[in-house]
Symmetry: C2
Subunit: 725 residues, 2 copies
C-alpha cells in the first residue's frame, strides 16, 4: 500500500465537542447535533458556541471557541460561509484537532468559494488538523453517540448499534441510508458524509472503517473519485481485512454521467473505468439503497455460502418454482438432496409429498406446524447444500410456531439461510432477525441479496491475489500527444514481448521492395509508415492482396509519391505477408488519469459495435489475470477451437500481453498502444496485423509523480479513447 490516509479517530471519538453556531432550536442546523447528542447521552463535553446566548438547550454557551478555556477535540461549524475561515483559524489556534463544516457556499457554489475552500484545506493540512467538509452533512459514531451531523434521519428512529459503516459523497443519500437501515432494523457503526472533500475524502473514510473494529461491512455512495490510488488502497485494505465493500456509484449511464457532471461540477467519467476497478479489486456494486440494505442484512446476519447449491423449502409449490427460477437466473443451483436427507425428510413428511428440491411442504403445515418443524430439522444438516431459502406466505395464526421451528433448525448452523415471508407479521420478523435469520418480503429481494453476497467470497480471494502488487501511478492528462507509425510501435512491442507480427520488410525505395520481397509469400499488403498518418487505411495508405511484382512496384511508387506530395515524415513502406484470419481481437493499453495505466481486450471484427464484448483492468497484471480477462469474453471459445475453428494458445497470449502491459505501464512517455486487429490465424497463431502508439510530448515534471491529491480535480480532463472498444 502506498497511499497515506488521514486518521479519523479524533473526528469519530472526540472527548469534547464545540458546536459553532449552536442554536437553541433543536430543529435548526446548529441545534440538531446538540439535541441528538443530549438525547442519546454523549459522554464527552459539549460546548455550544453562540455569542448571543448564555444557555443553549440547557448547556452553558460560549461566545467563541477560545473562550471555552479548555482543550476541545472536535468543532462542528454551522456558521455562514463567510465566517468559516476565521472560525477555523481561531479553532486551530485554540487547539481544535478536527472540524466538521456544515456550511455551504464554497466549491459547489462559485469560483470564489472554491478558492476559500482550498485555503481552508491548506490551513488544516498545514496545522495537522482534520477537516470534514465544507458543505457536508457530517459524521456519526453510533457506539459513542457522537452525532456531528444535522441529518433529519436521526429524528424518528431508535438508533441501533451494529457492524454496518457508511461513507457518502452525497449528504442526502447518506441521510436516506440512515433512514433505511434504522427502518429495517440494521445496526450501524460509523457514518461519514464527506461533502466537498477539502480535507477528509471517501478514501480516508473507507480506510478508517477498514481499521475500525466495530465495522464489519462498508457501504458507500460515490460520484467521483479524485485520487484513484488512495481509493484502491483503502478499498483493498478493507476487503483484505474481511470487510466487504458494497457501493453505489452513480452516473453509470450516459444520461446519468452528464447529470452527475452538472451536479458535482466534476467529470464523472466513463463508468467503465470505475466498473473495471470494482471488478478487479472485488468491490461489489449495487444500484440502489434498497438493494444495498437487502444484501447487508444477509451479510451481517449470515455466514457466506461456500458454494452455489441452494436448498429451497416452500409452503407453496408455486413459490418454490418461482424461487428456483430466480435462483437459476442468479447463477445458483437447486440440486436434489442426498439420499440420507431425502430419507429423513420422507419420514417427516406426510406420504403424498416427495422430498424434492424445491421441497414443497404444502399448505398442510397450516394444520400441523409440527410437519414443518420436523422437515426443517431433517434438512438442517443436508451436507451437499451450501445455503437454504425458506418460503412462507401469510400463516399469521401459526407464525410463532413456524418461526420457532426456523430458529431451532437453522439459527447458527453455519450455513447461510434466507427467509422469504410474504405478509409476515412485524413481530415475527423481529423475532427471526434477533436470531440472525433475515426475512425478506418477496423472492427477488432475497435472491438478489444472495447473489450479491456471493460475490464477496470472490472479493476476498481477489484482494489476496493482489497483495503486494506495485500499482503504477496515474499520470495527469497529457497536453499534447504524438502518434508513431506502425513500425515504430512494433519496435516497442518487440522489445518488451514476444508478440508475433506477419513476415515483413520495411523499404525506402521501389528497388528495395523488389529486391527484398523475394523472401515473402504472396499475397502481400503494403502500408505507408508515417507518424503523420496514424489512420493510414482511411487515407490510401494501405493496399491489400498484392500478388505480383508489377503491382508491388507501382504500389510502393504510389505511396512514396503520396508521402512526398503531402510532406509526410516517412518511416518507410512496410510490406507484409497477408494472414488468413479466423478471428480478431482488439487490444489497447491506455492511461486513465485517475486510476492509472490499463489494458483493454475486446473481440474485434465487424460485430464489435453490435454486440460489444470486452474486458478492462488496471496494470500491472499477471499472465493469469490477463487469461481471466480473455476467458471472460463471451466469445472466448471462438479463440480456442470452438466447433472445429482455429485454436489459439490463449495462455501464452495472456502472458505476452501481461509482459507488454507491464512494460507499457512503466514507460510514462507512452500514452497508448493499440493493436487492432490482433488476429487469430486459421492455423492457430496470434499475429498483430496493425499497431499504433501515441506518445506524450515531454513536459516538465510530467513523467514524475502524480500531483498532490487536493490539486487534481480541477485540471482533469476527459480520458481519451476509452470508449473506443
Amino acid at each position: 500500500m502506498s497511499a497515506t490516509f488521514k486518521t479519523l479517530d479524533v473526528l469519530l471519538n472526540p472527548c469534547s465537542i464545540a458546536v459553532v453556531g449552536a442554536s437553541s432550536n433543536p430543529m435548526k442546523v446548529g441545534g440538531r447535533p446538540i439535541a441528538y447528542m443530549k438525547k442519546l447521552g454523549y459522554a464527552g463535553k459539549l460546548y455550544p458556541i453562540n455569542p448571543k446566548a448564555e444557555i443553549v438547550q440547557g448547556l452553558k454557551a460560549y461566545p467563541s471557541i477560545s473562550a471555552i478555556g479548555a482543550p476541545v477535540d472536535l468543532a462542528i461549524v454551522a456558521a455562514a460561509a463567510a465566517a468559516v475561515e476565521d472560525i477555523l483559524r481561531e479553532g486551530i489556534a485554540a487547539g481544535i484537532k478536527a472540524f466538521v463544516v456544515f456550511s455551504s457556499g464554497f466549491g459547489e457554489y462559485s469560483s470564489e468559494g472554491s478558492a476559500v475552500q482550498a485555503r481552508l484545506g491548506q490551513m488544516c493540512h498545514d496545522a495537522g488538523v482534520l477537516l470534514l467538509g465544507p458543505n457536508c452533512l457530517g459524521a456519526i459514531n453510533i457506539r459513542n453517540h457522537v452525532i456531528a451531523s444535522f441529518t433529519t434521519a436521526m429524528e424518528d428512529h431508535d438508533l441501533i448499534e451494529g457492524g454496518f459503516g457508511f461513507v457518502s459523497q452525497s449528504g442526502a443519500l447518506g441521510a436516506y441510508w440512515l433512514d433505511m437501515v434504522f427502518q429495517r432494523g440494521i445496526g450501524v457503526s460509523s457514518w461519514i458524509a464527506t461533502g466537498n472533500e477539502a480535507g477528509v475524502d471517501v478514501s480516508d473514510a473507507i480506510h478508517h472503517l477498514a481499521n475500525d473494529p466495530d465495522t464489519r461491512l462498508i457501504g458507500g455512495y460515490i460520484e467521483d473519485i479524485k485520487d484513484g490510488p488512495a481509493f484502491r488502497d483503502a478499498a483493498l485494505a478493507a476487503i483484505s481485512a474481511g470487510k466487504p465493500i458494497v457501493l453505489i456509484k452513480s452516473g453509470r449511464s450516459q444520461t446519468g454521467a452528464a447529470a452527475a457532471a452538472s451536479h458535482t461540477g466534476a467529470l464523472a467519467g466513463e463508468d467503465a473505468r470505475y466498473q473495471a476497478l470494482f471488478d478487479q479489486i472485488g468491490i461489489v456494486r449495487v444500484n440502489s439503497l434498497s438493494e444495498m440494505v437487502a444484501v447487508a442484512r444477509l451479510i451481517l446476519m449470515q455466514p457466506p455460502a461456500s458454494g452455489p447449491n441452494v436448498g429451497v423449502i416452500s409452503v407453496s409449490g408455486g413459490a418454490g418454482v418461482m424461487l428456483a427460477d430466480d435462483l437459476d437466473e442468479a447463477g445458483f443451483s437447486v440440486p436434489p438432496f442426498d439420499d440420507d436427507t431425502r430419507a429423513r425428510v420422507n419420514d417427516a413428511l406426510p406420504g403424498f409429498v416427495s422430498a424434492n428440491n424445491p421441497l414443497d411442504v404444502t399448505g398442510s403445515v397450516a394444520g400441523d406446524s409440527g410437519i414443518f418443524s420436523r422437515v426443517l430439522d431433517a434438512l438442517g444438516s443436508a451436507p451437499d447444500h451450501d445455503s437454504f431459502v425458506l418460503f412462507i406466505g401469510l400463516m399469521v395464526s401459526i407464525s410463532r410456531d413456524l418461526s420457532d421451528s426456523l430458529v431451532r433448525a437453522f439459527a447458527n448452523r453455519g450455513k447461510q439461510v434466507a427467509v422469504v415471508w410474504i405478509g409476515a407479521p412485524a413481530e415475527v420478523v423481529r423475532e427471526l432477525e434477533s436470531h440472525g435469520l433475515p426475512v425478506f418480503a418477496d423472492i427477488p429481494e432475497a435472491v438478489q441479496a444472495m447473489k450479491t453476497a456471493r460475490q464477496f467470497s470472490a472479493a476476498l480471494e481477489k484482494a489476496q491475489r493482489l497483495e503486494g502488487t506495485r500499482w503504477h501511478a496515474p499520470l495527469p492528462v497529457a497536453d499534447r500527444l504524438e502518434a508513431r507509425s506502425e513500425i515504430r510501435a512494433q519496435d516497442f512491442i518487440r522489445t518488451h514481448s514476444d508478440l508475433a507480427f506477419p513476415e515483413q520488410l520495411l523499404v525506402g525505395t521501389v528497388d528495395e521492395a523488389v529486391e527484398g520481397v523475394t523472401t515473402l509469400s504472396t499475397p502481400l499488403v503494403v502500408k505507408l509508415q508515417s507518424p503523420d498518418m496514424p489512420h493510414k487505411s482511411d487515407h490510401g495508405g494501405v493496399r491489400l492482396g498484392i500478388a505480383d511484382p508489377d503491382t508491388l512496384k507501382s504500389t510502393v511508387q504510389d505511396m512514396l509519391e503520396i508521402a512526398d506530395k503531402t510532406r509526410l515524415r516517412l518511416d518507410g513502406i512496410l510490406i507484409q505477408e497477408m494472414s488468413s484470419v479466423a478471428q480478431e481481437l482488439i487490444v489497447g493499453f491506455k492511461r486513465d488519469p485517475v486510476f492509472g495505466p490499463l489494458l483493454l481486450i475486446g473481440r474485434g471484427g465487424v460485430e464489435v459495435e453490435l454486440r460489444p464484448d470486452s474486458k478492462m483492468a488496471y496494470l500491472p497484471l499477471t499472465g493469469d489475470a490477463v487469461l481471466s480477462m480473455l476467458r471472460g469474453l463471451a466469445t472466448a471459445p471462438l479463440f480456442e477451437g470452438y466447433r472445429g475453428g482455429a485454436r489459439g494458445d490463449l495462455k501464452a497470449l495472456a502472458q505476452t500481453l501481461a509482459d507488454l502491459g507491464n512494460a507499457f505501464a512503466a514507460e510514462p512517455s507512452i500514452e497508448e498502444i493499440e493493436i487492432n486487429p490482433l488476429a487469430l490465424t486459421r492455423d492457430g497463431r496470434f499475429v498483430a496485423l496493425d499497431a499504433l502508439s501515441q506518445h506524450r510530448l515531454a513536459q516538465e515534471g510530467q513523467a514524475s509523480e502524480r500531483p498532490p491529491r487536493d490539486a487534481q480535480g480541477a485540471e482533469r480532463q476527459k480520458s481519451p479513447g476509452l470508449q473506443e472498444l
Copy 2:
C-alpha cells in the same frame, strides 16, 4: 375469436349461496366464507349446510342442499373428497348453477382422484353447471361481497373496491396477491383461483374479467396452459378491450420448469413457447408479485406515457443522477426541457440552480417549500415530456406542503407521474395516492413500473393488428414422424414460396451427373438425398468444393454405393453450385401442441450457441410481422449491409417466409420444416443451402380438430425441437 368460454356471472354474482360443510368455527375452511360474507354484509341469501347443526354462525343451517327448499345459485363445497361427487349430484338436481369445490384429494393426489375429478367435470358440463376447482381456493367479487374462498388473506385487511382483477392457478399465490394489494392500498374487482380446473380454467376467468365492467387491469399467476387457443382468445379479448394483462408465468428456468412439472403434474414446457405468445399478443410478464403490484399502482392511478421522454425533479442531485441512470437503462430518455419551460423554472428557482433535466431543486426546499411548489407549477405543462418522476427523501416536517404542491401541479394533468419518496410518512403516501399519485419507496421499483407500464401501449397496438387473424389450431403430438430428403422439402417450399435455392441438378446416375453438370459453375457441392439420412453431413452424405469432372464422377459414384450398401431409399444425388456465404440464418417452422404452428428465426453460424439470437412467433404471420422478427435480432444489421457487408432484402425475405409459414401451418401433414442455413450471399441474395422436413404419419383423426379442452393435459408430451435454436 373461435374459442367458447364459460360465463362466470352466476359464480361471481350469485343471489344465494349454500356452504356445504359449513362450520361454526370462523377459522375453519367451512367457516371462513360465512364469516367473511357476514362481516362484509353479503346482500344475498346464505345457507349453511351441516346435518349436525341447527345454527351456524348465527344462521339457520340445513342438513342438505335439497333441504333448503328454495333455488340456490352457488354452492361452496368444503367437504371431504369422498363426499363431493354425491354433493354435486344432489346440488345439480336441486338446481345449483355453480359450484366452488375447495376439497382436495383429486387429480393432484392420485389417479383415482383424477378419475373422480374427470367425472365431476363431465357431470357439471352435461348439466350446464359451472364448476370451479376442485382443490381450489375459490373466487371473490369484492364489489358485491361474494367471498367464495377460505383464504386467510381476508382476515387482516380492509377490503378496497377497485379495478384490479386477478386469476391464479395457485391458491397460495392468489392469497399472497390479495394480501399484497390490500396491504398497498390497491382496489380489487374480482379474484379467481382455479385449482385443478376440472371446469372453469384461467382462460374462462380472463375472459370473464375482459368483459367485467369493474375490471380495468388483469393480473395472473399461471403454471401451465392446457388450451392454447382459448388462452390466446381470452387474452386478446381483454387487451383489445383496453385492459392490460400482467402475468407471472413460473417455470421459466430449466430448474424451475422441472420443479413445476413435479408440482403440478403437468409439463410446464419450454418457457420460450410462452414468452413468444406473450410477446406476440402483448401480455406483459413480470417475475414477482411485488413487481406486479408496483406496476399495477402506476397503471391504475396514472395515464399511460405517450412517449419515452421523462422529466426528473429531485430534491437530491445524487438521487436525480441515479434516476437518470435507471431510466436510461430502462429505455427512457431524460432530455432537456424546452426554452419556455426552462425560463419558467429559472424564474421559480433560486439563482444557483439551473433548469436541467434531471432538475435538482436541492435541499433548499426544506427551508422554503414554496420553491418546490413554484418549480412544479412551472414544469407541469412541459410539452416535450411524456411523464415525470419526482424524487423526495425524508423531509417529514414539510411533507404536507410538499404533497400539496405535488397534487396541485400533477394530479390529473393527463401526464404520467410517479413519485419516489424514501422515508415517506404513511399518511402522506395515502394522501398522494388518494389523489392518484403513486408513491414508490425507492427508485428501481418506480422505474421498473414505468418500464413495464410502457409495454401496454404497444400491447394494445399489437392486439389491434391481430384483429381478424385466423389462428391455426394446434395438433396433438404426433406418434410417429418421417423425415423427407432436402429435395422433397424443396418441393413444398418451392410450391408455396419464392425462396431461392442454389442452381442445382438432381441425378440418379453418374452419367446424368456428367451430362447435366455443364450448366453449373464450379465449385460444386454434392449431397445424397434420402429420407433415411436426414442429417446427411454427419454421415458422409455431403461433399463440398468439387471443381473438376473426375472428382464429381467419383463422388456421385461413392454416394450411390453408400445408398446401395446401406439400403437407403434414394431420392437421387443433388448437385448444387456452392454459394459465397456472408451471413447465415436458421429458419424453422414447427408445431407447438398447445399454441399451434410457429416460426422460429435465428442467426446461424458457429456462434449461435455462444450468443443465441433468435425470435419466435405463432402462425399465421404477415410479412410485416416477420420483418419485425428479423429486425428484432440483435445481429439484424449484419443482414442489411452493416459496415459495408452484404445487403439482403429483408422485407422481401420476410414476405417469403410469411407465405411459406402460412402454407406450412395449413398443411397438417407436415410437422416441421427447417432451413439451415438460409444464407445471405456476398452478392446480397438469400439462398436456402439446406432444408429438411418432418412429416406426420397418417393417423385416424390426427389432422382434424384439436381434442376437447378437458382431455388434453394428460397425453401432452414434450414439444420436440423447440430448444434447437
